[in-house]
């Protein structure tokens, strides 16, 4: 029987024998083909959405079924449970770090700027976690190199300065949200890694700093052409607050990864004892890439 949706609604006590179908059953759900009772709504709404007439019981069943289908939304509620929150957030951050590593391009250069866009030296903030100046003995300073390298030992600043100098105007981005364009000079990290005979297939470079800060960088980033062992800013040797005599400078990393007052570096495949980096061990992203 084809119901004409434009028919006027008929009253409920019309004799059933007058209808083509002898039995009247309520619609059996969204995919049901059951006949409708005497009151006839149109079969579809203005957007073509199906319209049905259902019993209370059937509607209850429909509602429960549809609620069950929304379980993925309820799953997000797991974040509200303190016991699950930490592991879930750790996994979320780890996933983002993994995706960041996949996205990184060894030959994709960070933006460089003309000299007129470089901020004034006084406008370049000093940032530190403990003290601005840990009192490095600049006369006696040497960089201790260890780990998976062919030529471990102590290296002087002069040996690093003997390598070709790269000067770059790049944007320094702090995780806090501010950024500043600065002028940096130093040796390409990849050049120095070659000098010490580093195993560049290793995963990490670990570093220790004079103020107790420590960091670890992925080897891919260490080999990036804009990653420097930096000893100059604005054409002058690094001052104490900015990490004299040597710091990492990497425009593809956030500021907290760019360790200052370097004391030792180690090429390694394993980061021991959960020591990945000062801020990372407190919950910041290890990859910290830009």
């Amino acid at each position: 029987m084809a119901d004409d949706p434009k028919d006027e609604q008929r009253s409920g006590d019309e004799a059933p024998e007058q209808r083509a179908e002898p039995e009247l059953e309520p619609s059996d759900g969204p995919r049901g083909q059951g006949a409708r009772p005497s009151l006839d709504p149109p079969s579809a709404g203005p957007a073509g959405e199906p319209i049905r007439v259902v019993s209370q019981k059937e509607r209850g069943r429909m509602n429960r079924r549809e609620l069950l289908k929304l379980v993925p939304v309820v799953a997000v509620g797991a974040f509200a449970i303190p016991k699950f929150r930490r592991p879930l957030l750790d996994k979320g951050l780890a996933f983002s770090d993994w995706a960041s590593g996949k996205l990184f391009g060894r030959h994709r250069l960070a933006q460089t700027f003309p000299d007129r866009e470089v901020a004034a030296f006084d406008a370049f903030p000093y940032n530190f976690y403990d003290v601005a100046d840990p009192g490095v003995d600049l006369e006696a300073w040497k960089l201790t190199v260890g780990g998976l390298v062919q030529r471990p030992g102590d290296y002087s600043l002069k040996q690093i300065q003997a390598l070709p100098k790269v000067v770059q105007n790049t944007r320094h981005v702090c995780v806090e949200g501010w950024d500043v364009i600065g002028n940096f000079g130093g040796a390409r990290a990849s050049d120095f890694l070659r000098v010490i005979g580093a195993d560049t297939s290793a995963r990490f470079l670990e570093t220790q700093c004079a103020d107790g800060y420590y960091e670890s960088i992925d080897m891919e980033t260490m080999l990036h052409p804009q990653t420097l062992f930096c000893y100059e800013m604005y054409g002058k040797p690094l001052d104490r607050g900015h990490g004299a005599p040597l710091r990492l400078q990497m425009p593809t990393k956030l500021g907290y990864k760019q360790a200052k007052y370097l004391v030792s570096i180690k090429v390694t495949n394993v980061l021991l004892g959960g020591l990945r980096g000062y801020w990372e061990d407190q919950g910041y992203s290890w990859y910290g890439g830009l």
């Binding site: 709404g45 199906p50 319209i51 007439v53 259902v54 019993s55 549809e66 406008a123």
Partner: protein, 229 residues
Amino acid sequence: MATGVAAINEKHRADIVVAYEHPLIVRLAHWLNAAALFVMIGSGLRIFLAFPSFGPKIPQENFVNIPRQLTIGGWLGGALQWHFTFMWIFVGSGLMYLVYQIATGHWRQVLFMPRDIKGVWPMARHYFLFGPKPEVEAAYNPLQKLAYTLTVLLGVVSTLTGMVLYKPAQFWWLAWPMGGYHYARIWHFIAMCGFVAFIPGHLIMVAAHGWNNFYSMITGWKRDPEYLG
């Protein structure tokens, strides 16, 4: 036969008319996105609090001071964890909705077009100034189309600017038309303001249209659809 009619009427007396308003994918996308947006705004505000300025660091001039109670994450490190976890849910659910709308052709019901411009004021007047109710012509009225098209745009802008904030070196080609990292941060904040402006209006409209309307975004079926009179 009287018994037969009475029995049938008895059986069907409690029948309900329902219309299938919202497919499952739309409902899933809606609630996942709403939950994610809540976390993104809350954690985003805490991230912003770490440097609540759009100017230089030296000298720092704060733009606005957000009350800590409105934020999620406790501290910058915590807020970043929430932000970098829920961004996947936010973008994933948004993409799920967009792909579904395009694949099914349903985008035509929602997308705000130039011909809808003239219908916006009568609708707004009806809702806010007790003007007459315009005729129901389509699944979504022009004001709804405007709102739901704008939110998609806000989602796209906040995602693209977010990508630049997260990876300005890798997405340098996206950063460049925005003016760089510094300006991406400003656009990102503006998009957030757009969402914050949309949400109360949306909630008021949902409440004004009654429980049946709200419930249809959960089960898909709207009881006693108003267009049947």
